[in-house]
Each structure stands twice: as structure tokens, then as C-alpha cells.
């Protein structure tokens, strides 16, 4: 390579770095704060105000967009954030199908993406595109294995499954099917329902007709209530398991005494008073819940905490990335991705993160807690 050709390149590079040094870090946030997934998106949008504002002397600016729960709108929002706002990292979108749709654009632009979505499909199986994605929720199989272990320990032989007809319910059907088989528990019925259904009587009847020892309901948000109350109304008094999707105070409010005794596995955020102070997530989660309540006057849903954790992950990774390049450059973004992958023993609200090149969700058993409903309140299962 001749000197003449290197010189302009060098010059450009210095100019670029000089320009970049003054730029602050820009993070794009996409949430579904309207439309069908608003239940998930609103606490996420509200959490943006609690994300870290400054790291290692660099200001962090957040650009928050709403995709109205529409995957097409998520893609245009991502393109806008990449091309116009020149973001360094992306938090969002809220919905699993939305997140699946934007991965290729985030990867093509080389932007680390922190997805607060349920489906493990955004990080598994790992490939060249998905290596840009980090997931701040527990993988379904981590939660499911806690439930299946509990079933096995309490002598349950047959299980009926009722799941939402969306990616969340479908992935649960897949994951639990495999785990139950491995545990020697028989899945005797598998039914689906729509989130907006006004009646799930038929599904409940069919499940009851199969006479399972326990029923597992997998549905996001307060739609998980209706199958369980319908089962109760029809005289089913067996065990009911729920997923972390039901881990909301709304669930208790809507279900009342009909959901007493429900067992679910979720992050310890629901039962902060019951867990020992030695649990590393307790302090972080307590602070988040208190800050959120101070700002918005209500307790946050777990979905918001997933975005908060994304902020914590970025906060921990940014100092290392700053050594490799200035914000706004491709070098910085690539270094940020590498630093996120190096995350070790970071306590978030949802658990303790240990990222590896193969595992971009990074949770272990400390990220889940068996929880039950006792006297109309969440309580840790002893």
C-alpha cells in the first residue's frame, strides 16, 4: 500500500475520532406502549427515565419510540434510530415477533441490541446475526425446569397445558413438552386460546375431561387469569402452575380467591420481602421498585425491570468499550458488544448475569424463585 493511499485514510480516521470524542452515547429504546402489547410496553417506556444518565463521564441520551405493537413499525423505528439518530445501542422492542423482525437490521448496522422479550429464539440458536442480541429475560426453559422439578418432587404424573396462541404460549408448549417427557410426566392435553377471548370454557372443559393432576397455564400478562378462574368455576380444585408471564399484581387483583395456591416461577422481584438479603438481586430490585414507584406512583411490572437490567448491562459494559473507540463509531459499538459478552456476575433485578459467547441471556438458578399465592399475596414457596 502506498503512502498516498494511507494518508487520506489516516486523516479521515483522525477526523472521525476527533468528531466522535465530543459525541455522547446514544441509546435507542423501542417499546410497544400502545396496541395489543401495551401491557408489556408501558412499564418499559416508563422505565427509560430510570436508566443510567452518565457512565465514565459520558452522557447517555435515550431516544424512545413506540411501535404500537406492530412488527413492521418496529422495523421502521429501528431504521430511523440507526440512520437518523445514529444510536450506539438498542433496547427493545417489547414483543417477541417485533424483536425477531429487527435483529437483521441491528446486526447489519453492527449495533448491540438488548431485547427484553420472552422468546429464547432471539438468542438461540446462536449465529452471526444473533451474536449482536442480548436478552434480559430468563429463558423459558430455565423457568419451566423449576416448575417441572416441583411437579416431579410433589408426585404429579399427568399435566394439562393451556397456552396463549402467540409466540409466548407456543414456545412454552414446546419447552414444557420436552421437559415433561424427560421427567416422565405425561402431557394429557394441550389447548390454546386467544388473549382477547371472552370465554375459555371449552378449553377448560377439555382439559378437565383429560383428568390431569395439575394444569399449566402459559400466557403473557393478565390474560393468564381467565383460564384459571374458568377452571375454578367448573369445579377444578387441583394444582395450577403459571409461568413468569403471570407474575403481575394484576393477576392477583383479577383472580382474587380463585387463584389462591397457584405456583409459578419468576424473578424474585415479586417476593422481595421473603428473600434473604444475601441474594444479590434483592438490593438492585428493591432500589428499582422504589425509584419507579416514586416516579410513577405505582409498582412496576416485571417487563419494566427487563429494560432496567438492559440499562445496567450497558452501564457495566460502556467503560471497557470507551477504551476501544469514541461513541458514534463502529469501533465503539463492536467493543460494546464484546464487553456485553464479557459480563460477569452482574446483579440485575432479574437475576445474576454471566454472558458467554454461547449464552446471551446469561441467567442461572439465582434468576428464578418458586412463588405461590398465599392469602391473596405473592409469597416465596418454602
Amino acid at each position: 500500500m502506498s503512502f498516498q493511499r494511507v494518508l487520506p485514510a489516516l486523516f479521515l480516521a483522525t477526523a472521525f475520532c476527533a468528531g466522535g470524542a465530543q459525541a455522547q452515547i446514544k441509546v435507542g429504546v423501542i417499546s410497544s406502549s400502545s396496541g395489543p402489547v401495551a401491557l408489556v410496553g408501558i412499564p418499559q417506556k416508563n422505565t427509560v427515565a430510570l436508566l443510567p444518565r452518565e457512565v465514565a463521564g459520558q452522557r447517555i441520551d435515550y431516544v424512545s419510540l413506540d411501535d404500537a405493537s406492530d412488527p413492521t413499525a418496529s422495523v421502521s423505528a429501528v431504521k430511523k434510530l440507526i440512520n437518523e439518530e445514529k444510536i450506539d445501542a438498542l433496547i427493545g422492542p417489547s414483543g417477541s415477533p417485533n424483536a425477531m423482525g429487527v435483529i437483521q437490521f441491528a446486526a447489519a448496522a453492527g449495533i448491540p441490541m438488548l431485547a427484553p422479550v420472552g422468546t429464547a429464539a432471539v438468542v438461540l440458536p446462536m449465529n452471526a446475526q444473533k451474536k449482536w442480541v442480548f436478552k434480559t429475560t430468563q429463558n423459558d426453559d430455565l423457568i419451566a425446569s423449576a416448575l417441572v422439578d416441583h411437579m416431579k418432587a410433589t408426585g404429579i404424573r399427568t399435566v394439562g397445558f393451556i397456552g396463549a396462541a402467540d409466540p409466548y404460549g407456543e414456545n412454552w408448549a414446546k419447552v414444557t413438552g420436552e421437559l415433561l417427557q424427560a421427567a416422565g410426566i405425561k402431557l394429557v392435553s394441550s389447548e390454546s386460546f386467544q388473549r382477547r377471548d371472552t370465554s375459555v370454557t371449552a378449553q377448560a372443559l377439555k382439559t378437565q375431561a383429560a383428568r390431569p393432576d395439575a394444569v399449566l397455564i402459559a400466557s403473557p400478562g393478565s390474560s393468564a387469569v381467565l383460564p384459571q378462574t374458568t377452571l375454578f368455576d367448573q369445579g377444578y380444585r387441583g394444582k395450577v402452575y403459571q409461568t413468569h408471564g403471570a407474575a403481575l399484581d394484576e393477576f392477583l387483583k383479577l383472580g382474587g380467591r380463585k387463584v389462591e395456591g397457584t405456583i409459578l416461577a419468576a424473578s424474585s422481584m415479586l417476593v422481595l420481602d421473603d428473600i434473604p438479603a444475601s441474594n444479590p438481586t434483592k438490593a438492585v430490585a428493591t432500589r428499582y421498585v422504589a425509584d419507579y414507584e416514586k416516579l410513577h406512583g405505582s409498582k412496576p411490572a416485571t417487563f419494566g425491570a427487563n429494560v432496567y437490567d438492559a440499562g445496567l448491562l450497558l452501564q457495566a459494559a460502556i467503560p471497557a468499550a470507551l477504551k476501544q473507540g469514541a461513541p458514534g463509531t463502529a469501533a465503539f459499538r463492536a467493543a460494546l458488544r464484546d464487553a456485553l459478552e464479557q459480563t460477569r456476575e452482574l446483579a440485575g433485578t432479574q437475576g445474576v448475569y454471566n454472558m458467554t459467547p454461547a449464552d446471551h441471556s446469561g441467567f442461572d438458578r439465582r434468576g428464578r424463585e418458586l412463588i405461590t399465592v398465599k392469602n391473596g399475596r405473592w409469597a416465596a414457596l418454602k
Binding site: 386460546f193 382477547r196 371472552t198 370465554s199 371449552a202 390474560s223 387469569v225 381467565l226 383479577l254
Partner: protein, 343 residues
Amino acid sequence: MDSQIALLLGQDGLTSGAIYALLALSLVLVFSITRVLLVPQGEFVTFGAMAMAGMQAGKPATLAWLLLGLAALRLALMLPAALRRRRLPAARSWGMLAYAVALLLLLRNLPLQQLPMAVQALLALAMVVPMGPLLYDIVFRPIASAHALVLLIASIALHGVLVGVSLLMFGAEGARSEPFSGNGLALGAVTFKAQTLWVIGVTLGLLLALYAFFNHTLLGKALRATAVQRLGAELMGISTAFAGQASFALAAFIGCLSGILIAPLTTLYFDSGFLIALKGFVGAVTGGMASYPVAALGAGGIGLVESFSTFWASDYKEVIVFTLILPFLLWRSLTTRHTEEEA
């Protein structure tokens, strides 16, 4: 499947079928009088249900604010024309504004949570029903003579706006209200849920009332005349604008009542109404958007089909329900003579 399951499914299907039938009736009513396919019908259902659940949960009645906003908007829209004629807008518009303010004050000062359920239901109706004519005046009256397609587009736009407003007012959380009464009625092996009996009873009562209204009152006959021939009715001195307002008021009333009826049965969300009304629409289509009894029967049938198909194939429930519309459309298009729509 044994007979008990069949009876339970039938009960479930009849309950939803009754609601679909009510909505099918109001869709046919509004369509035949104003040529508007009332897509936002489902929002009245949501409003009714959310108003009940909100009052019982002790939340402020935000719907009254929407009513106030709509009343003010209509007044504002009338002002330019009134100024040109150097006259104040009609007393009725001021009356509506005063009504909205009075209702808002009343709701703010009443102990909503402790009121008997019948009073809560009346208050919910008092908030939602006037929205029907207001929305007609604001959105559809200025374009009343436009092509049916334009009306449909305006209707879809209004639906979008109301769903957004609904999210703002009620939030994304689901809501549910208390059942009207506790115990059900045991008939042999099957217990009929109290709420099911309420739904079916109120539906039948309303059907009879509507029948009497359309056949034995002057206003009902005027509405029917408008539905048969708009121009002819106008020549006979029937105000089509008034007929439009009346049909929208009836639609809002039926929608709100349906919402109040199903709120204790299921968890409803800010956007739940649309799907419920859509199934009512399938019922209305079976009646060719013209016949009330066929539409009501069709909608009842939809409820039953939905319930049984869910039992056998829950994954394909919606597909089955909405596919039902195809044979009816085919049958309709083969048996009826096509006429160009009057402009």
C-alpha cells in the same frame, strides 16, 4: 364428549351468542338507517365494561371527560356556521355540554364504589349513550350523503381513534367487574350460571322492546321509514339527521349494555370490543345486513359454533368462526339481484 360437557358448551355458546346477537342488531340498525358500517360498535362495549369495572375498583370516571370533550367539540364545529348566520348554536348543543358538566360533577361527588350495581349500570349508560349521537354529529353527519365506502373509511378511522383514547383512559391492564348476583340455577345435572341467565334474559327483553319500538311507536316507524327509503322519508317530513342520531344512540345503548353484561364473565381489555363486535358483524352478514331476526339467529349460531369448535380444535377457532361468513356471502350473492347503490 358427554351430555354434560355438551350442555356446558351450549350454555357458554348461548351466552356469547346472545351478546353477538345484540351487536348484530345494532349493526344492522345503524347500517340500514345511515349506511354506516359501525366498526366502532365494539368500543361502546369496551366503554360499558370498563366504566363498570372502573367504578367498582374506585377509579375516577374518565369516560365523563370524553363525553365532555365530545360535547365541546361538537359545539366548536357548529360555531363557524352559526357565526356566519349571526346566531348562537342550537340550544341542544349547549344542553349537551351542560349535561356533560353536570354528569362529571355528579360522578366526582358520588361514592361510586358503594353504589348499588343497578345505579352503577345506569351511570355507565348515562356516560356512554350520549356519545353515540355526538359521534354521529361530529364524524358522520357532515358526510352523510357520501359514498358508502367513504363512510366505511371514516368508520374505521373513528375505530382507530377510539381504541387509542380507550388505552389512554383505561390503561393496558385487563379489567373485570363483580357478577350481578351470586348463585346460579340448578336444572338437573347442569348449573346455569347466574350471569348467563342475566345475559340471556336481558337480551330477550331487549329484543322484545326493540320489536315493540319499531312496530308500535312513531319514532320507531320513522326510523324504519328512513331505512327503507331515505329520500321518501325525508319528503314525508322525517329528519334523516335525527334518524341518524337516534340510531347511533340506540347502537351506543346496546353496545354499552352488552359491555355491562359481559364484564363479570371475562377479563376485558381496552381493545377487546372490536373482536366481539366483529363476530356480531358475521351474524349481521348472515342476515344480509337487513333482516333483524335472521341476524340475531345467525349471531346466536356463531356463539354456539365458536364454543363447540373451541372444544374440538382450539387452535382453529377463529378461523372456523370467520370462515362461516364465506358460504353466506356466496349464497347471498347468488340469490339476490344486484342493484347499484343510490348515490
